[in-house]
C-alpha cells in the first residue's frame, strides 16, 4: 500500500512544501543545475510517496529525502560525481549550514554578512553571482588573472563563512 492511497492531496502538498527547499538546496549544493535539481526533487518526493508507509520524525524524513536525492543525483552521471569517502565531510558541511530550518537562518546571516563586505571582495561577488560575468571578464575589470579571480572568490566565501559563524555564535 502506498501513501498516495492513504493520505490526502492536501497532506501531500504540505509534506512536499515543508521539505522541498532543503532537498532542492541540497541538490544544488551537490552540484546539480537548477533544472536538474527541479527534476530530481520531484523524483525524490515520488520515491517517498510510493515507498511503503513508515512513521518518521521530520528529521528522519529530511535524512531519508537527502539520501534518496543524493542517490538520484549520483545515478544521473555515468561516473560518480564524488567519492563515497567524501560523504561524511559533505554531510557535515551541509548539516552545519542547514541546521534545523533547511538553511533559512543561514541565508539570513549570509545576507547580513554580504552587506558588510566591501572593496574587491564585494565587487567580485557582485560580478560573479549577480551579473553572471565570466572569470576572464571579472579579471579584466579587477585587474587580476583568472586564477586570481578564483582565489579571490574562494577567500571571499571563506570570509563570509567565518562571518556567518561569528554571527551564529553571537546570536546563540
Amino acid at each position: 500500500m502506498t501513501v498516495v492511497q492513504t493520505i490526502s492531496q492536501d497532506e501531500v502538498v504540505r509534506l512536499v512544501q515543508s521539505h522541498q527547499a532543503e532537498v532542492w538546496r541540497y541538490l544544488r549544493y551537490l552540484g546539480a543545475s537548477a533544472e536538474l535539481a527541479d527534476d530530481l526533487t520531484q523524483d525524490t518526493f515520488l520515491q517517498l510517496l510510493r515507498a511503503p508507509f513508515a512513521v518518521r520524525s521530520p528529521q528522519q524524513t529530511a535524512g531519508w529525502l537527502r539520501t534518496v536525492a543524493r542517490n538520484l543525483f549520483v545515478r544521473a552521471f555515468r561516473r560518480p560525481p564524488f567519492e563515497l569517502a567524501e560523504l561524511e565531510t559533505m554531510e557535515a558541511a551541509w548539516s552545519g549550514f542547514a541546521g534545523d530550518d533547511a538553511g533559512g537562518e543561514a541565508l539570513v546571516r549570509l545576507r547580513g554578512c554580504l552587506e558588510r563586505l566591501d572593496g574587491r571582495a564585494r565587487d567580485a561577488v557582485r560580478l560573479h553571482y549577480e551579473e553572471r560575468r565570466s572569470r576572464s571578464e571579472i579579471g579584466a575589470q579587477l585587474g587580476v588573472g583568472e586564477d586570481g579571480v578564483k582565489s579571490l572568490l574562494r577567500r571571499t566565501r571563506s570570509l563570509l563563512r567565518a562571518c556567518m559563524q561569528r554571527d551564529a555564535e553571537g546570536g546563540s
Binding site: M1, T2, V4, V12, V16, Q17, Q20, A21, W24, R25, R28, Y29, G31, A37, D38, T41, Q42, F45, L46, L49, R50, A51, P52, F53, A54, R56, Q60, G63, W64, N71, V74, R75, F77, R78, R79, P80, E83, L84, A85, E88, T89, M90, A92, W94, G96, F97, G103, A106, L107, L110, R111, L114, V125, Y129, R154, R157, S158, L160, R161, S172
Partner: protein, 553 residues
C-alpha cells in the same frame, strides 16, 4: 575551509542572487496521478504471522547454518511497511568490510569488518557499502567482490514459497557507486555504477526445508545431551569426590563421533568444545597462515592491488574456521565479541596444537604441560576481565588485548623456531589480522579507520559519527569535536602514514588500533565528564564498541 564548506557557501550565494527553490508540490501531485504507482515490486503475500515452530526453526538456522533463509516478518526499520517481505541473509566478510544500512535509514546500522560473519536483513532499499575493496558472501547467493567505495542498493527480490518456507530465488542489486563482481555456480557478472547485478540463489526451498528438519533434530539431540549433563551434575553435587574432572583428560565424545583433537579443556566448557573439529581447525589454520602473510607481502609492493585469487582462497579457508565459532559462542567462553571468544586461551591452545601437528611440528609432552598451565592462568584472567564492571565496554577490550598480547608472547617463548615459524610465518603479525595467533584479530574486528590529515580533520569526521550515534544537537556535537581534536593531537597517532594494506584491506599496522583505543578511552572519559549528555546518550557512549582509528594520509 574544506571544498564542501566552500560549496555550501557558493550555493547559498547563488540562491541569494536569484536561483531559488521552486514550489514543486503541483508537479509532484501531477506526476503521482500520471505515473504507475510503486517503483518497488511487492509480493502479494498474506499478512499472517508465522507460528512459534517456524520461528524456532529459523532461529536454529541462524545458530547452526550459514545458509540464506527467509521469513515473513515485520521489519523493525522506520521505513518498513507492515507485512513487507524481507530476507534474513547470512553474511561472511573475508576481506575489507561491509556496512549495512536498512531501507529508509541514513547511516549504517551494522558494520561487518574483515573475517567476521553474521546475519542481516535485506529489503528493497537496503544499502550495502564497502569503502575498501572487499570480498563477502551473501547467503546462498555466492561471493561478491567490490571495488573501493562501492555502494549497492537492493532493488528487487524474487521469492518462491514451498512447504511453508519463503525462499528468495533472485536478488537484484543496483550499483550506486563503485563496482561489483558476482561469482556463483560457475557464473560471473560484473556491474559498475548505474548498472544492476542479478544474483541467483544456489539454494532451493527443498534444501531449506530439509535443513530446517535436520537442525531441529540437532537441537533435540543437544537438548537431550544438556539434560543428561545437568542430571549428572546434580548427582555429582551429592558425591563431591566424583565431581572432580581431570582437566588433562578430556571426556570422550558422547553421542556422535567427532574428529576432535582437543588437548586442552576446562570442565565448564568441555562438552561444547568437544564438538569442534580441532584437527580441521589446525589443518585450515596451517594452510591459511602463510597465505595471509603472502597477501600482506603482495600489498606491500608499489601500486599493489588486492590479489583477488589469493583473497578468495583465504575467504574459503576462513569460512571453514568460522564453522566452529557458533559452538564457541554457545559454550559461553568469555571474550569481547566473537573474535574475543576466538582468541580465548583455550581456543588458541587447541588450535595451535593442531596447527603444529598439521605442520609436522607437534607439541612435545613437556610443552603440552607448560601450555596447559598457561591456559589455566590466562583463562582465569580472561574470566576476571569479563566479570569486572566498567564504565565503557571498550575498557574490557583494552584489558583483554593487553592480556592476550602477554599470552601469545608467553606461548611463543615455549616453541622451537620451527614451531614458531609454523605459528606465525615470516611477515605475519605486522598488521592486525595478518596473524591467526595475535590479539590483532580482536582489534581488527572493532577498528574503524578514519583517513585524516591531522587531529582537526579526524575530530570533524569522528565527531560527526559520534553525533549521529548519540543523537547530539549541533552545539553539543561542536563541544565533542573540540574535545576530540585536543585529545587526538598526540604525535604517536600521526607519525606513520596509512599504507596500501591499511587503506585497501582495513588491516591496521600492529599497535595502531591499540594506541587509538587508549586515546579513545581518554576522550570518552572527557566527554562523559565535560559534556552535558542525557542518560540515554551516556549509555550509548558507554556501549560504543568500535575504535575510531586515525589513519594519517
Amino acid at each position: 575551509m574544506t571544498d564542501w564548506e566552500d560549496r555550501v557557501v557558493d550555493s547559498a550565494l547563488q540562491e541569494l542572487h536569484g536561483s531559488k527553490p521552486p514550489d514543486l508540490s503541483a508537479r509532484v501531485l501531477l506526476a503521482l496521478r500520471e505515473a504507475a504507482p510503486g517503483p518497488l515490486p511487492r509480493l502479494a503475500e498474506p499478512s499472517r504471522r508465522r507460528g512459534p515452530t517456524f520461528v524456532r526453526a529459523t532461529v536454529a538456522a541462524a545458530l547452526f547454518a550459514a545458509a540464506t533463509w527467509f521469513v515473513l516478518d515485520r521489519f523493525a526499520g522506520p521505513s518498513a511497511a507492515p507485512d513487507q517481505v524481507i530476507a534474513h541473509v547470512a553474511v561472511d566478510v573475508a576481506i575489507g568490510e561491509l556496512a549495512w544500512t536498512p531501507a529508509g535509514h541514513v547511516a549504517p546500522a551494522l558494520l561487518f569488518p574483515g573475517r567476521s560473519s553474521g546475519h542481516l536483513v535485506l529489503a528493497p532499499g537496503t544499502r550495502l557499502h564497502s569503502e575498501p575493496a572487499s570480498i563477502f558472501s551473501l547467503g546462498t547467493f555466492g561471493d561478491l567482490s567490490t571495488r573501493p567505495f562501492t555502494e549497492l542498493e537492493v532493488k528487487t527480490m524474487e521469492f518462491r514459497k514451498e512447504h511453508g518456507v519463503v525462499a528468495a530465488t533472485f536478488l537484484t542489486l543496483g550499483v550506486v557507486t563503485g563496482g561489483v563482481a558476482w561469482q556463483a555456480l560457475g557464473r560471473n557478472e560484473v556491474a559498475t555504477a548505474g548498472e544492476v547485478v542479478r544474483l541467483e540463489s544456489n539454494g532451493t526451498n527443498a534444501n531449506a526445508v530439509a535443513e530446517n528438519a535436520q537442525l531441529k533434530q540437532r537441537i533435540a539431540e543437544l537438548e537431550q545431551r544438556l539434560a543428561a549433563q545437568q542430571s549428572n551434575a546434580a548427582r555429582s553435587d551429592v558425591t563431591p569426590s566424583a565431581a572432580k574432572v581431570q582437566p588433562d583428560a578430556p571426556k570422550p565424545a558422547t553421542a556422535e563421533p567427532v574428529a576432535s583433537s582437543m588437548l586442552f579443556t576446562d570442565p565448564k566448557y568441555a562438552e561444547a568444545l568437544a564438538g569442534i573439529d580441532w584437527a580441521q581447525m589446525g589443518a585450515v589454520t596451517n594452510e591459511m597462515a602463510p597465505l595471509l602473510a603472502e597477501l600482506v607481502a603482495a600489498m606491500g609492493k608499489e601500486g599493489a592491488e588486492v590479489p583477488m585469487d589469493l583473497a578468495i582462497k583465504i575467504q574459503q579457508l576462513n569460512s571453514k574456521l568460522l564453522a566452529g565459532v557458533p559452538t564457541m559462542l554457545k559454550a559461553g567462553l568469555p571474550g569481547f565479541g566473537p573474535n574475543g571468544t576466538y582468541t580465548h586461551p583455550l581456543v588458541v591452545a587447541n588450535t595451535l596444537a593442531n596447527t603444529l601437528a598439521a605442520a609436522g611440528q607437534s607439541l612435545t609432552p613437556a610443552q603440552q604441560r607448560t601450555l596447559e598451565g598457561l591456559v589455566k592462568v590466562f583463562s582465569s584472567e580472561a574470566q576476571g576481565i569479563a566479570d569486572s564492571s566498567r564504565t565503557f565496554s571498550l575498557e574490557q577490550m583494552l584489558a583483554e588485548t593487553e592480556m592476550k598480547d602477554r599470552f601469545f608472547k608467553e606461548i611463543g617463548s615455549q616453541l622451537t623456531p620451527e614451531q614458531a615459524a609454523a605459528m606465525n610465518p615470516k611477515g605475519a603479525g605486522k598488521y592486525d589480522g595478518s596473524s591467526l595467533f595475535s590479539a590483532g584479530l580482536m582489534t581488527q574486528a572493532h577498528a574503524q579507520p578514519i583517513p585524516a590529515r591531522d587531529a582537526a580533520e579526524f575530530a570533524r569526521v569522528a565527531g560527526g559519527r559520534i553525533a549521529d550515534r548519540l543523537g547530539l544537537d549541533e552545539a553539543t556535537a561542536a563541544q565533542v569535536r573540540t574535545l576530540l581534536a585536543q585529545a587526538s593531537a598526540s604525535p604517536e597517532l600521526w607519525q606513520d602514514r596509512g599504507d596500501a594494506t591499511e587503506t585497501s584491506l582495513r588491516m591496521m599496522r600492529s599497535g595502531r588500533t591499540q594506541a587509538a583505543l587508549r586515546n579513545q578511552l581518554h576522550w570518552m572519559q572527557q566527554i562523559q565528564q565535560q559534556v552535558n549528555l542525557t542518560p540515554e546518550q551516556r549509555e550509548k557512549l558507554a556501549k560504543m564498541n568500535h575504535v575510531l582509528v586515525p589513519l594519517p594520509r
